[in-house]
Symmetry: C2
Subunit: 134 residues, 2 copies
DNA sequence: TTTTATCTTAGAGTAATTAAAACTTATCAT
DNA sequence: ATGATAAGTTTTAATTACTCTAAGATAAAA
């Protein structure tokens, strides 16, 4: 239901717009999307949406702590802000795979050093070894 | 002395060019540089160098495992490939600060899952709390 | 010292993102 | 419900950070 998302946005003091709802619904499906992918996907239902709006919405959602972003392969990727994990960029398939890991020590170490940590991004570049590379 | 660098490049099967030497000497000073910064710095001594050459040299050096790169704040940063560490992007000063940390578990976990890991990038976005933000 | 594969250069080209300006809308207080 | 207003959206243009190409130059092997 949309109600949850609506309340989530309201709770963070964000205006609830159809565009933001659509971004949230897409990201809620799970996985990783870049700006262009989100734009292309949302255009299917709402052809008038613009790429700027997508980026604006993502920025607002990220600032509110609902969405998380990281950079890999020269692109910014967005995902729902859930539990911290490793994002593995597969050099064979160019897919991003979530790998769970305990990253709490990292954040703790930084806090101990006096940093006020907003986001920790762990990106690994690797071959998944499941593809035949001739 | 340049001899060390020359031998390092030769050992990796790379041609030794004045441009690559210059990139290596700059990165050897320590710290993090982006393509434009390296270009601007090298131009001081060799005005004919081009930005493409900088990126080409960095790519060759990275492929050889001599140089490491990571992305932060929409920019690719280059550093000498030394011990794995956390790169903290300070949201106040926009500087990148190295923070040592044990990242071996991360790489091990990925290896156990069958990944052939080429590079692990840990980037934290944080305030250093040493700057007065009015 | 000639050969040749590789590198460098200059400049054009591209992809991803950001900015500006004008218009539209979600929310709140009537 | 209504109207004000702050915030969000759209379109278009601009910017940033690379990336590519083609032609000339050069490091290193023979």
């Amino acid at each position: 239901m949309d109600t949850e998302i609506v309340e989530m946005l309201r709770g963070k003091g964000l205006k609830v717009t159809p565009q933001r709802l659509a971004v949230m619904k897409l990201l809620s499906r799970g996985g990783h999307f870049n700006g262009e992918q989100i734009y292309e996907e949302l255009k299917k239902n709402e052809p008038s949406i613009s790429l700027s709006t997508v980026y604006n919405a993502l920025e607002a959602l990220e600032n509110a702590g609902i969405v998380n972003s990281f950079e890999a392969n020269g692109i910014t990727w967005y995902e729902m802000a859930t539990k911290a994990h490793i994002n593995v960029f597969c050099l064979d398939t160019k897919e991003i795979i979530d790998v769970s890991a305990n990253l709490q020590d990292i954040e703790n170490q930084l806090m101990e050093k006096g940093f006020d940590v907003k986001n920790v991004s762990v990106v690994a570049y690797a071959s998944c070894n499941k593809v035949s590379n001739k």
